[in-house]
Symmetry: C2
Subunit: 398 residues, 2 copies
């Protein structure tokens, strides 16, 4: 068994740092899950042992986010990108959406998207490609010149109660833009939120949402699993379409591809087919760990502490470090910053690597530095980073 | 670290037994993947370390199955059930399919399905629900009264060159029906095969297929990943449809949902979005292990040895054990058998558990006993089972 001979700090944006205790338990149980004599990845998903794990996972998840009883929770494969399509299919099939008026010539009722970064942009694009009548409530890049915040609400172009849903991304991982409060919309319109990279980092009033989904690999598990929270009434549909109604004018395809259909997963307790066993396992361990550590309230306290340390270091650098994001929308999870030139950024990253600070490079689409400070990153890592930022500045400030 | 104090034999149908060496390596590296100081599940999928893993995985997989150069290999999420839809969307979008004639009133050209068990039945049903013009070449349950074999080729109803593809499942895991040789079809028609539960257990002439796909969790990896092998020309499409052509008469939805589109995964080297890191990792280790053990030729030798031991024990039991499957189609991977009454089967399973033989229960839809003897199951396990079968029969034969 190898043990790292140095303390490594993992600032990766996802997959990202996990609690040491979770990894140690996974290691200890790798050859023998709970006395079965088999690894968790050798067990059938139909065993009582795995069912118990799955039940604990859902119960702990519900407790962590105080999910109300009129919401279903499913765990599915395919990542958030799969839900870009899933949202469109499922919500346009909902009873409410099927009864909404449409614009002249539109294949579907209007769907409202707030585009505040790379991920919500992709989600809106997928809705358009699937044939939905997409309205961009907000297009930050167009209005602000870059994904650096959210235009003032006075500039939003909401469709009101005609919208089948309003979609936004709570935290744009690539750009570091976070909206921790859902947008104000017509009360009849369900809000859909991609919470992949800030779920579990603050308390959420789930009752304000129609749908919340999140890839688990940032703040609550191991890549391969996506959690979807759905308000009951949004699963209600008009009488099931059979194959012959596929050309129905109500929506280009009224039948939802099998594994994209949320009702399939709801009916089968997320076990319609074999789940990614190890991802479910790590996610269950991580959720239990988060509860034991004090839940999302404590996680929020830590997120504030860690992100403030870095934003303060940027603010105190006399412009040596620059965060491109407008202050009210600065993410507590992903903190992008730039130096005056790329060569210097490269040098900064080299020095960080030498100090065992890993995965600090900005997303390939935007460059620069990005420090992700997810729940499992200890505050010591941030102290180390801030000390290095100070030191590097002393050395290179002109 | 716990170590099982007893040798457990895992006869599970999937997820199922993995090579001990693979699990031990995963355990050893859990906290520190290849000296990175991070777990494999903490690494970004954009790191050179993970790219190297992914490259090795594809290279080893290609070598194991001698995949010709004119075939692409992708690794995707969602299980085989996701590919039930993927096959329909992608192949009906192919240039060849778009140019085929259709039956009067049919939304698509005809697609041929051989239904020989529960899985191919689900695949055909999904094609029908998606609006395809499905022709059942074979419907074993109807013709034979049960999924116990494959009707004689003289009874098949192939559509000839008009078919967009011919689909079959090489090994029906639930029913224990295996077709190791692809059906004889018109040479222009691509053959599509679900090889989830017998891939890697015999050499395959990939050039006879249009598409082969397999969930990895039986014979080559850990649940969460599906491999798809696609012949190049089947990825060629007529000019891309935009949203406005979604109601095109060529197919109910000409746009393929993002993550179901094979070309998206081909273009992005299977890394369009975050893969299920641990599944990729275990699959890479398992493929390397299979190569080191002698590849698929050696795996076939072992499969013949292990399955023959059990089938011989059934044959020598004077009817005490009965295998419901016709001899030419008996699976080398999943061996179902029955006893004269359910009470006795229950007793058999209890005795097996007491002897640390696990997961021998038949699928919930069919009952009875099912011994799965995948590649990673040592022949010692089969000797133990056969000895127990003999002992149990001595005690209970009337």
């Amino acid at each position: 068994m190898t043990t790292p001979d140095k303390q490594v700090w993992n600032f990766g944006a996802g997959p990202s740092v996990l609690p040491r205790a979770v990894l140690e338990q996974a290691q200890a149980e790798m050859l023998d899950y709970q006395g079965t004599g088999m690894s968790i990845i050798e067990l059938s998903h139909r065993t009582p042992e795995f069912q118990a794990l799955q039940d604990r996972l859902e119960a702990d998840f519900r407790r962590l986010l105080s999910v109300p009883d009129n919401y279903r929770v499913i765990f599915v494969q395919g990542g958030a990108s799969t839900q870009f399509s899933g949202v469109v299919y499922n919500l346009l099939a909902s009873r409410r959406a099927q009864q909404l008026p449409r614009a002249d010539g539109a294949a579907t009722p209007v769907v409202d998207y707030l585009v505040t970064g790379g991920w919500s942009s992709k989600a809106a694009e997928e809705a358009r490609k699937l044939g939905a009548d997409v309205n961009l409530v907000v297009d930050s890049k167009k209005t602000l010149g870059a994904y650096r915040g959210v235009p003032d609400a006075s500039e939003w172009r909401l469709s009101g109660e005609r919208a089948a849903y309003v979609y936004y991304c709570a935290n744009e991982t690539v750009d570091g833009v976070e909206m921790r409060v859902p947008p104000q919309v017509h009360p009849d319109v369900p809000i859909v939120c991609d919470m992949s990279s800030d779920i579990m980092s603050y308390p959420v009033d789930v009752s304000r949402f129609g749908v919340i989904y999140a890839g688990v690999q940032k703040n609550m598990g191991a890549a391969g699993l996506t959690v979807v929270i759905i308000r009951d009434d949004l699963l209600e549909r008009t009488p099931a379409a059979d194959a012959t109604t596929n050309t129905s004018p109500r929506f280009p395809s009224t039948y939802i591809p099998l594994m994209l259909d949320w009702t399939v997963h709801v009916k089968n307790g997320s076990l319609y087919n074999t789940p990614p066993m190890f991802s479910n396992y790590i996610t269950a361990l991580y959720c239990a760990h988060t509860l034991a550590e004090g839940g999302v309230t404590e996680m929020e306290r830590r997120a504030v502490e860690k992100s403030t340390l870095i934003y303060d270091a940027i603010a105190a650098s006399s412009g040596f470090y620059r965060c491109p994001v407008d202050e009210p929308y600065r993410s507590r999870m992903n903190i992008p910053f730039r130096l005056r030139e790329e060569a210097l950024e490269k040098l900064f990253l080299q020095g960080a690597e030498a100090r065992h600070m890993r995965q600090l490079k900005g997303h390939r689409s935007v460059g620069g530095i990005r420090a992700s400070v997810y729940n499992a990153l200890p505050v010591e890592a941030v102290h180390a980073l801030v000390a290095y930022m100070h030191e590097f500045r002393q050395e290179h400030q002109q």
